[in-house]
């Protein structure tokens, strides 16, 4: 009897396999995200002294001018950053995917690099170039007698954040543009549509899932980012306020955690809003053989303009890396447009130590990114292809990870896993795999957004066709869905991998020994002294090159698969 009822119900919701998958993911998120974070932020809901449940702390939040101000500043900066980042990303994505353009892969790789800004070293390099007495301003002052506040105030934060995070839009939009069915474009052209109108009415709307995925990531990431505002000494934003409070000792103060809760709520809301903008339309296209949009050849003057635009954008967004490179070869660089002299000594100093850091970084970041695409892909599948109750909850929980400050997650892991002994008696929290899991949780939203966008563009009719031909769900996923999602999955993998490779805030709490430490930790240790500045920059350059090589290789893979599809056609 029970079986008879269960069966139609089950069919309505999801197959047992899918339900089990959802269960496993929910357990994973519960264990490594919800529980650790809750052990830390429940303080936000307790009354001072008594520990009784209360919401008075949230009332305090809205009564405090500083926090209300910080809240609106954060909203402003995030919105403005999305706009500026779009201005950087749109031309690069469009030109490299739409036209046959020499060096498209190289541009995609270079355009991705800004995301990999090593902590501390990157900040110093930015200041030395764009700061109040950086190269640009020293030269301007010398020649024309004025300076530009590129790194001053809220707009300075917008500038730096846009340079830093626009690759999110670039990567996801490019993946989406590649996935558009050529026949759509051809149909539009047959009906007489061309040029900008074609882009505005057909191409861009079809690529919208990718753009929204990237833009929402930028919004949330900037909303929750504390490194850049602190680097620019802007403290009246929410994330820095939370960080400053959580990490000050001797203050048993709930407000830091209250702000963390506000950050999480706003991030989830933003993610939810982004899915709303897409939910009214269907972005899937059926025919997948075409290998994406037709690539047009540019006329000479057009290609000159295109190269100029690309060159200009790349010069601007890669300037910090040029600064980092200079810093890594500089002897002394102080209040001058360029370093006093150059040396290889810094590389010699880090060469011995860095091999273990490099190995750890590669292992940690690739494992974390692998976990991310597996879980992210699975969540995207459950959301878009099943009617499982509570599937949105998985999405929101995973997206909330973006808003959890790294220190909160780090402390949460220590609280949750330090008392759990491993077989050899050492605490579980000291196991290096914990660093991998923390990284995976923190970078999961990137992979999830990318996979979600990729799946959204695939028509379900292809899967139905496969199943009608007798393929099992499992086989359909393996042979149809995953191959079609390759571009999105790789985009997610790269985003997760590259950013995990330079992540520091959660790692810093969890690193237990030098032999388990990733590059970012080695960099942090070096950047605490004047003599460590050069070697720190050298280590930063190594990290960037490392991630760049991996990114380049994945782009080559994407291009190859694209060409293979095209050839089949």
């Amino acid at each position: 009897m029970a079986l008879a009822i269960a069966r139609p119900l089950g069919r309505l919701l999801a197959s047992p396999g899918q339900a089990a998958l959802a269960g496993v993911i929910a357990l994973f998120l519960l264990l490594f995200l919800v529980v650790p974070v809750t052990t830390v932020i429940y303080v936000a809901f307790t009354e001072k002294g008594t520990g009784v449940f209360t919401l008075i702390n949230f009332v305090d939040f809205f009564r405090t001018d500083l926090f209300v101000n910080a809240f609106w500043n954060s909203i402003y900066v995030s919105t403005a950053t999305v706009l500026v980042a779009s201005i950087f990303a749109l031309p690069l994505a469009y030109i490299t995917t739409r036209f046959s353009f020499r060096g498209a892969v190289l541009i995609q790789t270079l355009g991705f690099l800004p995301l990999i800004m090593p902590p501390f070293a990157g900040a110093v390099a930015m200041q030395l170039l764009f700061g109040r007495n950086g190269s640009v301003n020293l030269l301007l002052d010398d020649w024309f007698g004025f300076k530009i506040g590129l790194m001053e105030g809220l707009n300075g934060v917008v500038f730096v954040q846009a340079v830093h995070y626009f690759p999110f839009i670039l990567v996801n939009l490019s993946a989406a543009l590649r996935n558009i069915d050529r026949s759509m474009e051809e149909a539009a052209q047959n009906l007489g549509c061309s040029g900008f109108r074609l882009f505005r009415r057909v191409v861009f709307p079809l690529a919208l899932p990718g753009y929204v995925a990237g833009a929402s990531l930028v919004f949330v990431k900037v909303f929750d980012d504390l490194a850049t505002p602190l680097l620019l000494n802007v403290k009246d934003m929410l994330a820095p306020q939370a960080y400053l409070r959580v990490t000050s000792i001797g203050i048993a103060d709930p407000m830091g955690y209250v702000i963390a809760v506000v950050l999480i709520v706003v991030s989830v809301l933003a993610m939810w809003a982004s899915t709303l903008t897409l939910s009214s339309k269907d972005y899937a296209t059926v025919q997948r053989g075409g290998g994406g949009l037709a690539k047009r050849t540019l006329r000479p003057w057009e290609s000159a303009v295109a190269y100029c635009v690309v060159g200009l954008i790349l010069a601007l967004v890669l300037a910090p890396h040029l600064g980092l490179l200079l810093l890594s070869f500089a002897t002394v660089w102080s209040f001058s447009p360029l370093p006093d002299a150059y040396t290889f000594a810094h590389y010699a100093r880090v060469f011995g130590d860095s091999s273990v850091y490099i190995k750890n970084t590669l292992v940690y970041a690739s494992l974390a990114a692998l976990i991310d695409v597996l879980i992210g892909g699975a969540i995207a599948y459950l959301i878009l292809r099943t009617k499982l109750i509570g599937r949105q909850g998985l999405d929101w929980a995973a997206s909330a990870a973006l808003a959890v400050p790294g220190v909160v997650l780090g402390i949460g892991y220590l609280r949750t896993f330090y008392d759990v002994p491993m077989p050899d008696g050492r605490p579980l929290a000291t196991f290096w795999m914990m660093i991998v899991l923390a990284l995976a949780i923190r970078r999961l939203p990137y992979a999830l957004r990318a996979c979600h966008a990729a799946l959204e563009q695939i028509s379900v009719s292809l899967e139905e066709a496969a199943e009608n031909l007798g393929a099992t769900k499992m086989r359909t996923v393996r042979r149809v869905v995953v191959p079609l999602m390759t571009g999105g999955i790789l985009a997610g993998f790269i985003s997760s991998f590259a950013t995990a490779a330079v992540e520091l805030s959660a790692t810093l709490m969890l690193v237990q020994s030098n032999s388990d430490a990733p590059l970012a930790y080695g960099l942090y240790v070096l950047m605490q002294s004047p003599a460590g500045r050069g070697p720190g920059a050298a280590l930063g350059v190594i990290a960037v090159i490392l991630v760049a090589i991996c990114t380049f290789l994945s782009h080559v893979v994407i291009e190859r698969s694209q060409r293979a599809k095209g050839a089949l056609h």
């Binding site: 000792i249 002394v332 102080s334 330090y418 605490q528």
Partner: protein
Amino acid sequence: MKSYSKIAYLAALMCVSLPASEALSQAPTGKVTVVTSFSKDVTDPFKKAFEKAYPGTTLEVQNRNTNAGVKFVEETKSNNQVDLFWASAPDAFEVLKGKGLLQKITITATGIPEKVGSFPINDPQGFYYGFAASGYGIMWNDRYVKANKLPEPKEWSDLAKAPYFDHVSISAPSRSGTTHLTIETILQGEGWDKGWRTVKELGGNFRTVTDRSFGVPEAVNSGQVGYGIVIDFFAFSGQASGFPVKFVYPTVTTLVPANVAVITNAPNKTAAAAFVNYLLSPAGQEVLLEPGISRLPVNPAVYAKAPPSLPNPFTDKSLGAQVKFDVNISEKRTNPVDTLFDQLITFQLDGLKAATKAVHDAEAALAKKDNAQARGLIKEARDLIAAMPITAAEAESPEITGAFTGAKEKGARQAELEQKWAAFAKERYAQAKTKAEEALKLAR
């Protein structure tokens, strides 16, 4: 059979090694884990020297900033894996001691006096030990100062003068234990009201208030700001690395020890104690003289080998002896002082700077053409800037301090106090600006 004998062997070994551990204290071996805020430049030479002096030991360095280190030791106490805590700020050690996370050891090193300047070197109860002394002072970038034609400062009050406007940097006392001590030194040296007046006059000239100690020397080294209020070794090691920076100790400064302590339930107490004693021995003290470290040894005899540029606080009595520093007062009001600084200066920097600039401008105009009424207005403006929301007695009162500790009794919440103090300062800074602008009009 074979595995059985192995177990028996292990058991025998354990029986032998357990009671013998006391006797073995002569020969420490194995891994010593140290949580430290010191950079690689400091830890590497010590690691090398210690491992050489005690073959068979390895020093495992976990680098965390002081606050994160304290949190880490606290969070992991149930299953502690850390032997030593090694950092500058004495108040971090006070926090650890207060939570029962430190243990006493036997000190064998000799020749270390009781005080450096007017500050006791070791914890009076013997839970932590000073191994190096440092004083606060002013560091500046020579190229920056020359390019902007700025003066070279000698005293704290110099930094409050008009030419220094927007050129000074400091780390927030809530984020840096050593800055906290500097502010506290000024407050104790000049008294609560006068001291805060000085601090806010300095504050009006701040370019930035950074969230980590090293942010200040970094900005001065790279020439992003001109002057920084820093602990001496930041400047010395900057000079040693070739940066064009200079440093001066003002007369009102205090020398504070950097410390080391053994954690409760340290897994390798023997070797941890050996490391502490090594740090305090002449051999360990000499490592401090390496140019990348440049800290003041606490053993006066070691200064014989020091370079002449390193000041000797044991012979140069002007250094740090001026202020009688009361640790108890400092400890009692730590949280209110830090929060006041943040709410009145760090987060109100724009308002404070605008008022200060207006005062500077009016004073410059007055210097050319005097006007009694304008002078009165400027004095009012300065008093408004200097006004404090609470008195020294209130800052030490349980009603205020209780708001910061999560005390059991119901009282004001920290967020309430902060909002009150911030609003107080914001209003007065705005009034001060208006008054100073009126004065400027009169003086024209």
